[in-house]
């Protein structure tokens, strides 16, 4: 992972310009969609306030410190939907509002994480990402579903629900 301190790595970045991490320690950015932006961060969490330059759906990016993607996988209380994207990939940008919607609708069941494959090439190579966007559903740290390409919100929701309902 590029540019990391010993403690943590900035894991995922929004396609939009992101707020600088606090300088005393690096923080990983996971995007949790749909929760309203709070003005006063909780003690142990820093919430980023995104600049409002146009009308955008309400987004809260929650920063948490993870030492690596593996750490994120291990310590996640919920299954993860990981979106491997690139800034100049059209379908990936198309999915941004859809992921907001899906993250909000399924917020108790799954957590959405976005990974910029140009920043985290090792990670993208590890999972042999080819076409973008690629979505991988992780459960208990292991990939349990994988699909490529943009799809509408309803299809994405039903696919995720089907995957999560399958008994392990």
């Amino acid at each position: 992972m590029a540019g990391c301190s010993t403690a943590a790595v900035v894991l995922s970045c929004h396609a939009r310009p992101s707020v600088a991490a606090d300088f005393s320690r690096q923080a990983a950015l996971t995007s949790i969609r749909g929760v309203p932006i709070r003005r006063f961060p909780a003690k142990n969490r820093r919430l980023s306030v995104l600049p409002q330059r146009r009308i955008i759906p309400k987004v809260e990016a929650r920063k948490q410190t993870f030492s690596s993607f593996d750490d994120l996988l291990e310590n996640s209380d919920k299954p993860l939907l990981v979106d491997f994207y690139a800034t100049w990939c059209g379908p990936c940008q198309f999915m941004v509002p859809i992921l907001d919607q899906v993250g909000e609708k399924l917020k108790d069941k799954i957590r959405v994480v976005k990974i910029d494959t140009e920043k985290y090439t090792t990670l993208a190579n590890r999972y042999q990402i080819e076409a973008l966007p690629t979505f991988i559903v992780f459960r208990n740290g292991k990939p349990c579903d994988r699909f490529e390409g943009a799809l509408p919100a309803e299809q994405l929701i039903s696919r995720i629900e089907n995957v999560l309902n399958v008994r392990q």
Partner: protein
């Protein structure tokens, strides 16, 4: 009377910038944009190729704009418009090899464009246009 004597004992020869302990927002923009000239080249290419292949741009022109910029970006950095909707181990090698240079082999052979740039009329996302202006591109990608 020197300035120093008016203070208890600490001399401050230089103005000290008081930095608030907590800055609420700091914007770091690291993304490099392709030049307008190259974007224009790729825009013209996209229009011509859509007409030639009888395909259409996406209903959401934002997608078209982002892909055109992505092609322009690769053209500038790699010398060839490598498909922006793929992840590569070695971009330079891929650009030299050519399979994924736009128009890529899947597109040329089967009209398959997973970037959603060139869409066949039967595609759910296909619009009815085969043209896009530079302004449209600029506006759609101004937030990136």
């Amino acid at each position: 009377m020197s300035i120093q004597s008016s203070f208890a004992g600490v001399a401050l020869p230089l103005p000290v910038a008081v930095v608030p302990l907590r800055r609420s927002v700091s914007l770091i923009r690291a993304k490099v944009e392709p030049s307008e000239k190259t974007v224009e080249i790729m825009r013209k290419f996209s229009e011509q190729y859509a007409r030639r292949s009888e395909t259409y741009f996406c209903v959401d022109k934002g997608v078209t704009s982002v892909v055109i910029k992505g092609l322009a970006d690769h053209k500038e950095t790699l010398g060839a418009p490598l498909c922006p909707c793929r992840h590569y181990d070695d971009k330079a090698a891929e650009a030299a090899q050519g399979f994924w240079n736009c128009p890529c082999v899947p597109m040329r052979e089967r009209k398959e464009c997973h970037c959603m740039l060139f869409l066949t009329p039967d595609n759910d996302f296909a619009g009815r246009e085969q043209s896009i202006t530079l302004d449209e591109i600029k506006v759609s990608t101004s937030n990136l």
